[in-house]
Protein backbone atom coordinates (compact mmCIF):
# COMPACT_ATOMS: atom_id res chain seq x y z
CA UNK A 1 0.00 0.00 0.00
CA UNK A 2 2.82 2.37 0.88
CA UNK A 3 6.29 2.10 -0.53
CA UNK A 4 9.23 4.43 0.13
CA UNK A 5 12.02 4.24 -2.46
CA UNK A 6 15.24 6.08 -1.61
CA UNK A 7 13.27 8.90 -0.05
CA UNK A 8 15.14 11.92 1.23
CA UNK A 9 13.77 15.13 2.66
CA UNK A 10 15.84 18.20 3.20
CA UNK A 11 14.19 21.28 4.64
CA UNK A 12 15.18 24.76 3.56
CA UNK A 13 18.07 25.76 5.75
CA UNK A 14 19.90 22.49 5.17
CA UNK A 15 18.26 20.30 7.81
CA UNK A 16 18.33 16.74 6.52
CA UNK A 17 15.18 15.19 8.03
CA UNK A 18 15.27 11.91 6.08
CA UNK A 19 17.94 10.28 3.97
CA UNK A 20 17.54 7.26 1.72
CA UNK A 21 14.55 5.68 3.45
CA UNK A 22 13.19 2.44 1.96
CA UNK A 23 10.31 0.33 3.22
CA UNK A 24 7.01 -1.28 2.26
CA UNK A 25 3.80 -1.25 4.22
CA UNK A 26 1.31 -3.79 2.94
CA UNK A 27 -2.42 -3.51 2.87
CA UNK A 28 -3.95 -4.54 6.19
CA UNK A 29 -0.65 -4.25 8.07
CA UNK A 30 -0.12 -2.44 11.35
CA UNK A 31 3.32 -1.06 12.05
CA UNK A 32 5.01 1.21 14.54
CA UNK A 33 7.46 3.86 13.61
CA UNK A 34 9.86 4.67 16.36
CA UNK A 35 13.02 6.59 17.09
CA UNK A 36 14.19 9.56 19.13
CA UNK A 37 12.44 12.84 18.72
CA UNK A 38 13.97 14.52 15.71
CA UNK A 39 14.66 11.17 14.06
CA UNK A 40 12.25 12.02 11.25
CA UNK A 41 9.07 10.19 12.29
CA UNK A 42 6.77 13.15 11.76
CA UNK A 43 8.41 14.04 8.47
CA UNK A 44 7.85 10.51 7.21
CA UNK A 45 4.15 10.70 8.04
CA UNK A 46 3.89 14.18 6.54
CA UNK A 47 5.32 12.87 3.28
CA UNK A 48 2.61 10.21 3.05
CA UNK A 49 -0.23 12.68 3.65
CA UNK A 50 1.53 15.06 1.26
CA UNK A 51 1.92 17.79 3.84
CA UNK A 52 5.45 17.85 2.46
CA UNK A 53 6.94 16.72 -0.81
CA UNK A 54 10.09 14.56 -0.82
CA UNK A 55 13.32 16.17 -1.96
CA UNK A 56 14.46 12.94 -3.58
CA UNK A 57 13.10 9.43 -4.14
CA UNK A 58 9.52 8.25 -4.46
CA UNK A 59 6.65 7.83 -2.03
CA UNK A 60 4.13 5.44 -3.56
CA UNK A 61 0.57 5.18 -2.31
CA UNK A 62 -1.35 2.33 -4.00
CA UNK A 63 1.31 2.39 -6.69
CA UNK A 64 0.96 6.12 -7.37
CA UNK A 65 3.86 8.48 -6.90
CA UNK A 66 2.52 10.85 -4.27
CA UNK A 67 5.40 13.28 -4.58
CA UNK A 68 4.42 14.08 -8.15
CA UNK A 69 0.73 14.47 -7.44
CA UNK A 70 -0.74 17.67 -8.85
CA UNK A 71 -1.80 20.18 -6.25
CA UNK A 72 -5.48 19.86 -7.14
CA UNK A 73 -5.41 16.10 -6.42
CA UNK A 74 -3.98 16.53 -2.91
CA UNK A 75 -7.38 16.82 -1.17
CA UNK A 76 -8.57 13.55 -2.69
CA UNK A 77 -5.44 11.77 -1.49
CA UNK A 78 -5.95 13.15 2.01
CA UNK A 79 -9.52 11.87 2.07
CA UNK A 80 -8.13 8.35 1.78
CA UNK A 81 -5.85 8.86 4.77
CA UNK A 82 -6.99 9.37 8.33
CA UNK A 83 -4.47 11.33 10.36
CA UNK A 84 -4.29 11.50 14.16
CA UNK A 85 -2.07 14.05 15.85
CA UNK A 86 -0.52 14.23 19.25
CA UNK A 87 -2.14 17.62 19.80
CA UNK A 88 -5.50 16.37 18.44
CA UNK A 89 -5.95 19.30 16.06
CA UNK A 90 -9.60 19.66 17.01
CA UNK A 91 -11.48 22.89 16.43
CA UNK A 92 -12.16 24.24 19.89
CA UNK A 93 -15.05 26.50 18.83
CA UNK A 94 -16.97 23.66 17.24
CA UNK A 95 -18.87 20.93 19.03
CA UNK A 96 -17.54 17.39 19.15
CA UNK A 97 -20.25 16.39 16.69
CA UNK A 98 -19.20 19.03 14.14
CA UNK A 99 -15.52 18.20 14.59
CA UNK A 100 -16.12 14.57 13.76
CA UNK A 101 -18.52 15.47 10.94
CA UNK A 102 -16.02 17.75 9.19
CA UNK A 103 -14.66 15.23 6.64
CA UNK A 104 -18.21 14.28 5.66
CA UNK A 105 -19.32 17.91 5.37
CA UNK A 106 -16.39 18.50 3.07
CA UNK A 107 -17.36 15.54 0.94
CA UNK A 108 -20.94 16.82 0.71
CA UNK A 109 -22.61 13.88 2.42
CA UNK A 110 -26.28 14.38 3.31
CA UNK A 111 -27.07 15.51 6.82
CA UNK A 112 -28.99 12.40 7.81
CA UNK A 113 -26.09 10.25 6.65
CA UNK A 114 -23.63 12.49 8.54
CA UNK A 115 -25.72 12.17 11.67
CA UNK A 116 -25.83 8.40 11.44
CA UNK A 117 -22.13 7.98 10.78
CA UNK A 118 -20.94 10.52 13.37
CA UNK A 119 -23.05 8.77 15.99
CA UNK A 120 -21.60 5.41 14.98
CA UNK A 121 -18.03 6.73 15.09
CA UNK A 122 -18.53 8.40 18.47
CA UNK A 123 -20.11 5.24 19.77
CA UNK A 124 -17.09 3.26 18.66
CA UNK A 125 -14.73 5.48 20.68
CA UNK A 126 -17.15 5.58 23.61
CA UNK A 127 -18.02 9.26 23.46
CA UNK A 128 -21.58 9.23 22.19
CA UNK A 129 -22.78 11.20 25.22
CA UNK A 130 -20.25 13.98 24.54
CA UNK A 131 -21.41 14.99 21.07
CA UNK A 132 -22.69 18.41 22.18
CA UNK A 133 -19.63 19.31 24.22
CA UNK A 134 -16.75 21.46 23.05
CA UNK A 135 -13.30 19.82 22.89
CA UNK A 136 -11.72 21.94 25.67
CA UNK A 137 -14.35 20.50 28.06
CA UNK A 138 -12.97 16.99 27.53
CA UNK A 139 -9.93 15.26 29.01
CA UNK A 140 -6.82 14.69 26.91
CA UNK A 141 -7.69 11.07 26.30
CA UNK A 142 -11.23 11.92 25.30
CA UNK A 143 -10.00 14.60 22.91
CA UNK A 144 -7.65 12.09 21.35
CA UNK A 145 -10.57 9.73 20.85
CA UNK A 146 -12.55 12.50 19.17
CA UNK A 147 -9.55 12.90 16.86
CA UNK A 148 -9.70 9.17 16.12
CA UNK A 149 -13.43 9.35 15.43
CA UNK A 150 -12.75 12.16 12.96
CA UNK A 151 -9.96 10.19 11.33
CA UNK A 152 -12.05 7.08 10.82
CA UNK A 153 -15.38 8.68 9.91
CA UNK A 154 -14.51 8.76 6.22
CA UNK A 155 -13.55 5.08 6.37
CA UNK A 156 -10.06 5.70 4.98
CA UNK A 157 -8.01 2.63 3.98
CA UNK A 158 -4.94 4.09 5.70
CA UNK A 159 -4.61 5.53 9.19
CA UNK A 160 -1.55 7.52 10.28
CA UNK A 161 -1.05 8.44 13.91
CA UNK A 162 1.67 10.81 15.08
CA UNK A 163 2.49 10.20 18.77
CA UNK A 164 -1.16 9.51 19.62
CA UNK A 165 -0.29 8.52 23.20
CA UNK A 166 2.18 11.32 23.78
CA UNK A 167 0.12 13.16 26.36
CA UNK A 168 -1.68 10.20 27.94
CA UNK A 169 -1.06 8.07 31.00
CA UNK A 170 -0.10 4.39 30.44
CA UNK A 171 -3.59 3.03 31.05
CA UNK A 172 -5.18 5.36 28.53
CA UNK A 173 -2.36 4.69 26.09
CA UNK A 174 -3.04 0.96 26.21
CA UNK A 175 -6.73 1.66 25.70
CA UNK A 176 -5.99 3.79 22.69
CA UNK A 177 -3.71 1.20 21.14
CA UNK A 178 -6.55 -1.27 21.45
CA UNK A 179 -8.68 0.96 19.24
CA UNK A 180 -5.97 0.88 16.62
CA UNK A 181 -5.73 -2.88 16.83
CA UNK A 182 -9.48 -3.18 16.42
CA UNK A 183 -9.42 -0.92 13.38
CA UNK A 184 -6.58 -2.93 11.92
CA UNK A 185 -8.60 -6.07 12.37
CA UNK A 186 -11.37 -4.76 10.16
CA UNK A 187 -8.83 -4.17 7.41
CA UNK A 188 -7.46 -0.66 7.94
CA UNK A 189 -3.74 -0.26 7.32
CA UNK A 190 -2.22 1.54 10.30
CA UNK A 191 1.10 3.30 10.79
CA UNK A 192 1.76 4.69 14.27
CA UNK A 193 4.70 6.91 15.14
CA UNK A 194 5.49 6.54 18.80
CA UNK A 195 8.40 6.42 21.19
CA UNK A 196 6.47 4.49 23.80
CA UNK A 197 8.86 1.51 23.48
CA UNK A 198 7.39 -0.42 26.38
CA UNK A 199 3.92 -0.44 24.86
CA UNK A 200 5.27 -1.30 21.43
CA UNK A 201 7.21 -4.26 22.70
CA UNK A 202 4.14 -5.60 24.50
CA UNK A 203 2.09 -5.56 21.32
CA UNK A 204 4.76 -7.34 19.31
CA UNK A 205 3.90 -5.84 15.97
CA UNK A 206 6.20 -4.74 13.17
CA UNK A 207 8.51 -1.90 14.21
CA UNK A 208 10.35 0.49 11.90
CA UNK A 209 13.20 2.30 13.60
CA UNK A 210 14.46 5.66 12.45
CA UNK A 211 17.68 7.27 13.59
CA UNK A 212 18.92 10.63 12.39
CA UNK A 213 16.72 10.39 9.34
CA UNK A 214 17.83 6.90 8.30
CA UNK A 215 15.86 3.67 8.62
CA UNK A 216 18.17 1.56 10.79
CA UNK A 217 15.94 -1.35 11.68
CA UNK A 218 12.76 -3.13 10.53
CA UNK A 219 11.63 -5.66 13.15
CA UNK A 220 9.02 -8.07 11.75
CA UNK A 221 5.79 -8.77 13.60
CA UNK A 222 5.83 -11.48 16.26
CA UNK A 223 2.07 -11.41 16.20
CA UNK A 224 0.40 -14.49 14.72
CA UNK A 225 -3.22 -13.99 13.85
CA UNK A 226 -5.20 -16.79 15.46
CA UNK A 227 -8.76 -17.94 15.17
CA UNK A 228 -9.48 -16.56 18.62
CA UNK A 229 -8.14 -13.17 17.56
CA UNK A 230 -10.64 -12.94 14.78
CA UNK A 231 -13.37 -14.11 17.09
CA UNK A 232 -12.84 -11.12 19.38
CA UNK A 233 -14.49 -7.87 18.76
Amino acid sequence: MIRFEHVAKRYPGGIQALSDVNFDLHKGELAFLTGHSGAGKSTLLRLIALLERPSRGQVLFDGRNVGKLARRHIPYLRRRIGVIFQDHRLLSDKKVFDNVALPLMIAGVSYSEIRRRVRAALDKVGLLDKENMYPPMLSGGQQQRVGIARAIIGKPPLLLADEPTGNLDPEMSADLMNYFLQLNEVGVTVLIASHDLELIRQLGRRVLVLKNGAMIDDLPSRHQPTVSDHGQS
Binding site: Y76, R78, L102, V109, S110
Partner: protein
Amino acid sequence: MEALPGAAGLRAWARRHAYSFLSSLGALTRQPIASSMTLIVLAVALTLPTALHVALDNVRAISQSWERLDTLSVFLTADIDENEARRMGSRLTLWEEIAAIDPISPEQGLADVTGQLNLGNVSEELASALPENPLPWVLEITPEDDTVLTALVDRLEREAGVSSVVVDLKWLERLDAMVAVVGQLVLLLAALFAVGVAFIVANTIRMDIQNRREEIEVMSLVGATPPFIRRPFLYTGLWYGLIGGTLAWLIVWFGLIALEGPMGELSGSYNADFTLSPPSMEIAALLIAGSGLFGVLGSWLVVNQHLRRINP
Protein backbone atom coordinates in the same frame (compact mmCIF):
# COMPACT_ATOMS: atom_id res chain seq x y z
CA MET B 1 -14.73 -0.33 3.22
CA GLU B 2 -15.61 2.55 1.04
CA ALA B 3 -13.35 5.55 1.02
CA LEU B 4 -14.42 9.17 0.61
CA PRO B 5 -13.22 10.34 -2.75
CA GLY B 6 -15.88 13.05 -2.68
CA ALA B 7 -19.56 12.57 -3.11
CA ALA B 8 -20.36 13.70 -6.61
CA GLY B 9 -23.53 15.12 -8.05
CA LEU B 10 -25.64 18.18 -7.81
CA ARG B 11 -26.96 17.46 -4.33
CA ALA B 12 -23.51 17.07 -2.85
CA TRP B 13 -22.51 20.28 -4.61
CA ALA B 14 -25.54 22.07 -3.17
CA ARG B 15 -24.77 20.73 0.31
CA ARG B 16 -21.19 21.95 0.13
CA HIS B 17 -22.41 25.37 -1.01
CA ALA B 18 -24.96 25.55 1.78
CA TYR B 19 -22.17 24.78 4.25
CA SER B 20 -20.00 27.60 2.84
CA PHE B 21 -22.92 29.99 2.82
CA LEU B 22 -23.78 29.39 6.45
CA SER B 23 -20.18 29.41 7.52
CA SER B 24 -19.66 32.82 5.85
CA LEU B 25 -22.61 34.29 7.73
CA GLY B 26 -21.10 32.84 10.88
CA ALA B 27 -17.89 34.72 10.18
CA LEU B 28 -19.79 38.02 10.05
CA THR B 29 -21.73 37.44 13.23
CA ARG B 30 -18.92 35.86 15.22
CA GLN B 31 -17.18 39.22 15.59
CA PRO B 32 -20.00 41.72 15.34
CA ILE B 33 -17.92 44.74 16.37
CA ALA B 34 -15.06 44.06 13.98
CA SER B 35 -17.36 43.35 11.06
CA SER B 36 -19.59 46.36 11.69
CA MET B 37 -16.53 48.60 11.83
CA THR B 38 -15.44 47.26 8.47
CA LEU B 39 -18.92 47.79 7.10
CA ILE B 40 -18.99 51.40 8.30
CA VAL B 41 -15.59 52.12 6.74
CA LEU B 42 -16.84 50.62 3.48
CA ALA B 43 -20.10 52.56 3.61
CA VAL B 44 -18.40 55.88 4.27
CA ALA B 45 -15.81 55.26 1.57
CA LEU B 46 -18.50 54.40 -0.95
CA THR B 47 -20.73 57.31 0.07
CA LEU B 48 -18.25 59.90 -1.18
CA PRO B 49 -18.26 59.02 -4.90
CA THR B 50 -21.96 58.21 -4.79
CA ALA B 51 -22.88 61.52 -3.20
CA LEU B 52 -20.69 63.37 -5.67
CA HIS B 53 -22.36 61.55 -8.52
CA VAL B 54 -25.82 62.43 -7.21
CA ALA B 55 -24.84 66.09 -6.77
CA LEU B 56 -23.45 66.15 -10.28
CA ASP B 57 -26.56 64.53 -11.70
CA ASN B 58 -28.71 67.19 -10.09
CA VAL B 59 -26.54 70.07 -11.30
CA ARG B 60 -26.65 68.59 -14.78
CA ALA B 61 -30.44 68.31 -14.69
CA ILE B 62 -30.81 71.90 -13.50
CA SER B 63 -28.41 73.28 -16.09
CA GLN B 64 -30.23 71.42 -18.83
CA SER B 65 -33.56 72.88 -17.80
CA TRP B 66 -31.97 76.36 -17.85
CA GLU B 67 -30.51 75.84 -21.27
CA ARG B 68 -33.89 74.95 -22.66
CA LEU B 69 -35.41 78.12 -21.22
CA ASP B 70 -32.70 80.26 -22.63
CA THR B 71 -33.50 82.61 -25.45
CA LEU B 72 -31.40 84.62 -27.85
CA SER B 73 -31.93 88.32 -28.11
CA VAL B 74 -31.38 89.58 -31.66
CA PHE B 75 -30.88 93.32 -31.59
CA LEU B 76 -31.81 94.83 -34.94
CA THR B 77 -30.21 97.98 -36.28
CA ALA B 78 -31.84 101.24 -35.28
CA ASP B 79 -33.15 102.00 -38.76
CA ILE B 80 -35.48 99.02 -38.86
CA ASP B 81 -39.08 99.88 -38.13
CA GLU B 82 -41.95 97.80 -36.87
CA ASN B 83 -43.06 96.46 -40.27
CA GLU B 84 -39.61 95.37 -41.24
CA ALA B 85 -39.03 93.85 -37.84
CA ARG B 86 -42.24 91.81 -38.00
CA ARG B 87 -41.50 90.72 -41.57
CA MET B 88 -38.04 89.60 -40.56
CA GLY B 89 -39.51 87.79 -37.58
CA SER B 90 -41.92 85.77 -39.70
CA ARG B 91 -39.12 84.96 -42.15
CA LEU B 92 -36.89 83.63 -39.37
CA THR B 93 -39.63 81.40 -37.94
CA LEU B 94 -39.15 79.24 -41.03
CA TRP B 95 -35.63 78.29 -39.91
CA GLU B 96 -35.70 74.88 -38.47
CA GLU B 97 -33.35 75.73 -35.57
CA ILE B 98 -35.89 78.23 -34.29
CA ALA B 99 -38.89 77.23 -32.26
CA ALA B 100 -40.53 80.64 -31.69
CA ILE B 101 -39.97 84.31 -32.23
CA ASP B 102 -41.25 87.09 -30.12
CA PRO B 103 -40.68 90.62 -31.48
CA ILE B 104 -40.26 93.17 -28.74
CA SER B 105 -40.89 96.80 -29.46
CA PRO B 106 -38.54 99.47 -28.11
CA GLU B 107 -41.33 100.68 -25.79
CA GLN B 108 -41.93 97.26 -24.34
CA GLY B 109 -38.20 96.73 -24.04
CA LEU B 110 -37.79 99.95 -22.10
CA ALA B 111 -40.65 99.04 -19.82
CA ASP B 112 -39.10 95.58 -19.23
CA VAL B 113 -35.72 97.04 -18.48
CA THR B 114 -37.00 99.63 -16.04
CA GLY B 115 -39.30 97.05 -14.52
CA GLN B 116 -36.46 94.59 -14.07
CA LEU B 117 -34.28 97.24 -12.52
CA ASN B 118 -37.12 97.63 -10.07
CA LEU B 119 -37.08 101.39 -10.32
CA GLY B 120 -40.79 101.72 -9.61
CA ASN B 121 -42.14 105.21 -10.19
CA VAL B 122 -38.77 106.40 -11.27
CA SER B 123 -39.14 104.36 -14.44
CA GLU B 124 -41.90 106.50 -15.79
CA GLU B 125 -39.92 109.60 -15.07
CA LEU B 126 -36.89 107.98 -16.66
CA ALA B 127 -38.86 107.02 -19.76
CA SER B 128 -40.26 110.50 -20.12
CA ALA B 129 -36.91 112.02 -19.39
CA LEU B 130 -35.32 110.32 -22.36
CA PRO B 131 -35.66 112.42 -25.49
CA GLU B 132 -36.40 109.33 -27.54
CA ASN B 133 -36.40 105.60 -26.89
CA PRO B 134 -32.78 104.44 -27.33
CA LEU B 135 -33.73 100.79 -27.79
CA PRO B 136 -34.04 99.13 -31.20
CA TRP B 137 -36.52 96.42 -32.13
CA VAL B 138 -35.49 93.12 -30.64
CA LEU B 139 -36.41 89.64 -31.78
CA GLU B 140 -36.45 87.21 -28.92
CA ILE B 141 -35.75 83.78 -30.30
CA THR B 142 -36.42 80.47 -28.59
CA PRO B 143 -34.26 77.85 -30.24
CA GLU B 144 -35.27 74.24 -30.75
CA ASP B 145 -34.03 71.87 -28.02
CA ASP B 146 -31.22 70.24 -29.91
CA THR B 147 -29.91 73.36 -31.60
CA VAL B 148 -26.21 74.11 -31.52
CA LEU B 149 -26.43 77.64 -30.21
CA THR B 150 -23.10 78.92 -31.47
CA ALA B 151 -23.94 77.93 -35.06
CA LEU B 152 -27.32 79.64 -34.84
CA VAL B 153 -25.73 82.78 -33.44
CA ASP B 154 -23.26 82.84 -36.36
CA ARG B 155 -26.04 82.46 -38.88
CA LEU B 156 -28.16 85.17 -37.30
CA GLU B 157 -25.26 87.59 -37.15
CA ARG B 158 -24.81 87.26 -40.93
CA GLU B 159 -28.40 88.40 -41.54
CA ALA B 160 -28.90 91.91 -42.89
CA GLY B 161 -30.35 94.31 -40.37
CA VAL B 162 -28.99 92.44 -37.37
CA SER B 163 -26.89 94.59 -35.14
CA SER B 164 -25.90 92.02 -32.54
CA VAL B 165 -26.98 88.74 -31.06
CA VAL B 166 -26.79 88.47 -27.32
CA VAL B 167 -26.52 85.10 -25.74
CA ASP B 168 -25.62 84.99 -22.15
CA LEU B 169 -24.43 81.47 -22.36
CA LYS B 170 -20.83 81.87 -21.29
CA TRP B 171 -21.57 80.91 -17.73
CA LEU B 172 -23.65 77.97 -18.87
CA GLU B 173 -20.75 76.78 -21.00
CA ARG B 174 -18.47 77.15 -18.04
CA LEU B 175 -20.91 75.22 -15.90
CA ASP B 176 -21.04 72.50 -18.53
CA ALA B 177 -17.25 72.34 -18.61
CA MET B 178 -17.17 72.18 -14.84
CA VAL B 179 -19.76 69.44 -14.80
CA ALA B 180 -17.62 67.52 -17.28
CA VAL B 181 -14.55 67.95 -15.09
CA VAL B 182 -16.38 66.86 -11.97
CA GLY B 183 -17.90 63.97 -13.95
CA GLN B 184 -14.42 62.78 -14.79
CA LEU B 185 -13.46 63.22 -11.16
CA VAL B 186 -16.38 61.03 -10.11
CA LEU B 187 -15.17 58.29 -12.44
CA LEU B 188 -11.64 58.51 -11.06
CA LEU B 189 -12.90 58.51 -7.49
CA ALA B 190 -15.17 55.56 -8.20
CA ALA B 191 -12.25 53.58 -9.59
CA LEU B 192 -10.07 54.57 -6.65
CA PHE B 193 -12.70 53.65 -4.10
CA ALA B 194 -13.44 50.36 -5.84
CA VAL B 195 -9.79 49.45 -5.30
CA GLY B 196 -10.19 50.75 -1.76
CA VAL B 197 -13.13 48.44 -1.16
CA ALA B 198 -11.13 45.46 -2.42
CA PHE B 199 -8.30 46.22 -0.03
CA ILE B 200 -10.45 47.04 2.98
CA VAL B 201 -12.21 43.70 2.51
CA ALA B 202 -8.90 41.96 1.84
CA ASN B 203 -7.48 43.28 5.08
CA THR B 204 -10.52 42.25 7.09
CA ILE B 205 -10.55 38.79 5.55
CA ARG B 206 -6.84 38.50 6.22
CA MET B 207 -7.48 39.00 9.91
CA ASP B 208 -10.34 36.53 9.73
CA ILE B 209 -7.96 34.01 8.14
CA GLN B 210 -5.40 34.61 10.90
CA ASN B 211 -8.05 33.87 13.50
CA ARG B 212 -9.17 30.76 11.67
CA ARG B 213 -5.74 29.55 10.59
CA GLU B 214 -6.13 26.35 12.57
CA GLU B 215 -9.56 25.62 11.15
CA ILE B 216 -8.24 26.09 7.63
CA GLU B 217 -5.33 23.78 8.27
CA VAL B 218 -7.53 21.10 9.78
CA MET B 219 -10.00 21.34 6.90
CA SER B 220 -7.16 21.03 4.46
CA LEU B 221 -5.81 18.03 6.40
CA VAL B 222 -9.06 16.13 6.22
CA GLY B 223 -9.31 16.65 2.49
CA ALA B 224 -11.06 19.95 1.84
CA THR B 225 -10.39 21.22 -1.67
CA PRO B 226 -9.05 24.78 -2.03
CA PRO B 227 -12.34 25.98 -3.55
CA PHE B 228 -14.18 24.59 -0.54
CA ILE B 229 -11.88 26.41 1.86
CA ARG B 230 -11.96 29.55 -0.23
CA ARG B 231 -15.72 29.73 -0.70
CA PRO B 232 -16.80 30.91 2.78
CA PHE B 233 -14.26 33.73 2.60
CA LEU B 234 -15.45 34.74 -0.86
CA TYR B 235 -19.01 34.80 0.45
CA THR B 236 -17.87 36.90 3.40
CA GLY B 237 -16.20 39.32 0.98
CA LEU B 238 -19.40 39.43 -1.04
CA TRP B 239 -21.46 40.21 2.06
CA TYR B 240 -19.12 42.99 3.08
CA GLY B 241 -19.31 44.51 -0.39
CA LEU B 242 -23.06 44.18 -0.77
CA ILE B 243 -23.89 45.44 2.71
CA GLY B 244 -21.32 48.25 2.49
CA GLY B 245 -22.76 49.35 -0.88
CA THR B 246 -26.31 49.22 0.43
CA LEU B 247 -25.34 51.26 3.49
CA ALA B 248 -23.66 53.87 1.28
CA TRP B 249 -26.80 54.11 -0.80
CA LEU B 250 -28.90 54.54 2.36
CA ILE B 251 -26.57 57.24 3.64
CA VAL B 252 -26.96 59.17 0.37
CA TRP B 253 -30.70 58.66 0.52
CA PHE B 254 -30.95 60.00 4.06
CA GLY B 255 -28.60 62.82 3.14
CA LEU B 256 -30.98 63.86 0.38
CA ILE B 257 -33.92 63.78 2.76
CA ALA B 258 -31.97 65.95 5.19
CA LEU B 259 -31.17 68.41 2.39
CA GLU B 260 -34.73 68.57 1.12
CA GLY B 261 -35.88 71.36 3.47
CA PRO B 262 -32.93 73.73 2.94
CA MET B 263 -33.03 73.00 -0.77
CA GLY B 264 -36.72 73.95 -0.93
CA GLU B 265 -35.93 77.27 0.76
CA LEU B 266 -33.05 77.89 -1.62
CA SER B 267 -35.09 77.19 -4.72
CA GLY B 268 -37.98 79.19 -3.27
CA SER B 269 -35.70 82.20 -2.96
CA TYR B 270 -34.96 81.87 -6.68
CA ASN B 271 -38.65 81.47 -7.52
CA ALA B 272 -37.66 78.18 -9.02
CA ASP B 273 -38.73 74.66 -8.42
CA PHE B 274 -35.63 72.54 -7.93
CA THR B 275 -35.96 69.21 -6.28
CA LEU B 276 -33.09 66.87 -5.55
CA SER B 277 -33.51 63.65 -7.42
CA PRO B 278 -32.26 60.50 -5.68
CA PRO B 279 -29.71 58.22 -7.33
CA SER B 280 -31.22 56.24 -10.18
CA MET B 281 -31.90 52.54 -9.78
CA GLU B 282 -29.10 51.82 -12.24
CA ILE B 283 -26.61 53.72 -10.11
CA ALA B 284 -27.82 52.03 -6.93
CA ALA B 285 -27.52 48.62 -8.61
CA LEU B 286 -24.09 49.48 -9.99
CA LEU B 287 -22.93 50.69 -6.59
CA ILE B 288 -24.11 47.62 -4.71
CA ALA B 289 -23.16 45.02 -7.31
CA GLY B 290 -19.84 46.75 -7.97
CA SER B 291 -18.83 46.89 -4.33
CA GLY B 292 -19.93 43.26 -3.94
CA LEU B 293 -17.72 42.30 -6.86
CA PHE B 294 -14.71 44.14 -5.49
CA GLY B 295 -15.37 42.59 -2.08
CA VAL B 296 -15.12 39.14 -3.64
CA LEU B 297 -12.01 40.21 -5.52
CA GLY B 298 -10.34 41.44 -2.35
CA SER B 299 -10.99 38.25 -0.42
CA TRP B 300 -9.90 36.15 -3.42
CA LEU B 301 -6.51 37.86 -3.30
CA VAL B 302 -5.75 37.05 0.33
CA VAL B 303 -7.31 33.60 0.48
CA ASN B 304 -5.36 32.36 -2.53
CA GLN B 305 -2.16 33.73 -1.15
CA HIS B 306 -2.81 31.89 2.09
CA LEU B 307 -3.89 28.58 0.50
CA ARG B 308 -0.69 28.38 -1.49
CA ARG B 309 1.16 28.11 1.80
CA ILE B 310 -0.86 25.14 3.04
CA ASN B 311 -0.71 22.93 -0.03
CA PRO B 312 2.90 22.35 -1.02
